[in-house]
């Protein structure tokens, strides 16, 4: 039996997640500033509209819709045209109003979903729900309720979350959210041989197999492109990987002086 997938349209990522996200799931994309979380989310929305005839919503707690239009235009995605064609709605609202709205019958998000037949949503970013409470147990409940509200509307969501750590592991206290989402993608900066690279890992994909390796990715003029896995290094997610023993041995003894073979 084959399961319908919701492709992200991101080169390399769909292959890692076996064709796309599962329908009506909540998919967390977590990373440090500048790693491309919002770009990944916008690409997911753009792909839905332009290639799958699946209208989308962008729910933002901070950025103005114009910012998304500008950012999307940099990748050749015409979000203003998508809006004009009733394929996209960019909604800016506060976390408290959004959470209350989702609890309502016929709330604004539900109305907009119905109005354009939205199938996808980007929530940018889930971190703002933290403004609603300092209690981690209550926050988890609010987040769970919020995610279920989106699923009830039939939406497949990409939820971004900021990670303050530029390099290295996430603090333990931030891992709670991983239990309430269906998939968990981590974007990381990696320092390797004097340069900063970007790494992507699919940590979890509920109900499906997925690639377990850590891949390099780049943000190009066409959006995110996931490339090959990191070879010959270990400790990638620590942010400062080291060469594997085999690679270190080869570098020390097999390469001739001056580095030319």
């Amino acid at each position: 039996m084959t399961t319908t997938r919701i492709p992200t349209g991101i080169s390399g990522l769909d292959e890692m997640i076996k064709g796309g996200f599962l329908p009506q799931t909540a998919n967390l994309v977590e990373g440090a500033p500048g790693t491309g979380k919002s770009t990944l989310g916008m690409q997911f929305i753009h792909q839905g509209i332009s290639a799958c005839d699946e209208p989308g919503l962008i729910l933002t707690f901070e950025e103005f819709p114009k910012q998304y239009y500008r950012d999307a235009a940099n990748f050749g995605w015409d979000f203003a045209a998508h809006e004009a064609q009733n394929k996209l709605r960019v909604i800016m609202s506060s976390p408290e109003v959004t959470a209350a709205d989702l609890r309502q019958i016929n709330g604004r998000i539900e109305m907009l979903t119905d109005q354009i037949g939205a199938r996808r949503i980007l929530v940018d970013s889930l971190s703002h729900l933290e403004q609603l409470t300092a209690d981690p147990v209550e926050l988890r409940q609010i987040t769970y309720e919020f995610i279920n509200g989106l699923k009830r509307l039939g939406l497949t969501s990409v939820l971004t979350r900021e990670n303050a750590a530029l390099l290295g592991e996430t603090p333990d206290s931030e891992e709670d959210l991983a239990f309430v989402v269906d998939s968990y993608l981590m974007l990381r900066y990696v320092e390797l041989q004097g340069a900063v690279h970007k790494a992507l890992l699919v940590l979890k994909l509920r109900g499906s197999d997925h690639a377990k390796d850590i891949r390099q990715y780049a943000i190009t003029g066409r959006g995110l492109e996931v490339r090959s896995r990191f070879e010959g290094t270990q400790g990638i997610m620590s942010g400062a990987p080291v060469m594997t023993h085999a690679e270190a041995f080869a570098a020390a003894f097999l390469s001739p002086p001056g580095g030319k073979s």
């Binding site: 960019v90 800016m92 609202s93 506060s94 408290e96 109003v97 209350a100 609890r103 309502q104 907009l112």
Partner: protein
């Protein structure tokens, strides 16, 4: 013979009468002007006075009475959402179209000067 004030007023009245009416009766303060522009640019926003004040970079004590006035004048809608008083751009197409015409007209410096003149007169 008309005095200088009357002459200036007649020059400043030289605009689309629907826009003149809009400025005189509904967008008759600079805060309202900002708020109307905000909702025109963000037509799907529903939010509290606190948040809207933050988005527009204003003090909520200044913004809230103006939001209430705009709601009374039919430019915005207001409702109670789980105990939160929230504001949304009106769903009335005629009003939205008129606001869009006003925002487009503001691209023209001469129009802006006239609009500012009328707002200042309203504030006197």
């Amino acid at each position: 013979m008309p005095d200088a004030d009357d002459f200036a007023a007649s020059l400043m009245d030289d605009m689309d009468p629907r826009l003149l009416e809009l400025i005189r009766t509904r967008i008759n303060s600079f805060i309202k002007w900002d708020l109307v522009r905000f909702f025109h640019d963000n037509p799907h926003t529903t939010d509290t006075a606190d948040s809207i004040a933050r988005y527009t970079g204003r003090d909520v004590r200044t913004v809230e009475p103006e939001l209430q006035q705009l709601a009374r004048d039919g430019v915005l809608m207001t409702e109670d959402l789980s105990g939160l008083r929230v504001y949304t751009f009106t769903g009335e197409k005629d009003v939205r179209d008129l606001v869009a015409t006003f925002i487009r007209a503001c691209d023209d410096r001469q129009f802006r000067v006239k609009a500012i003149y009328h707002v200042i007169r309203s504030l006197r």
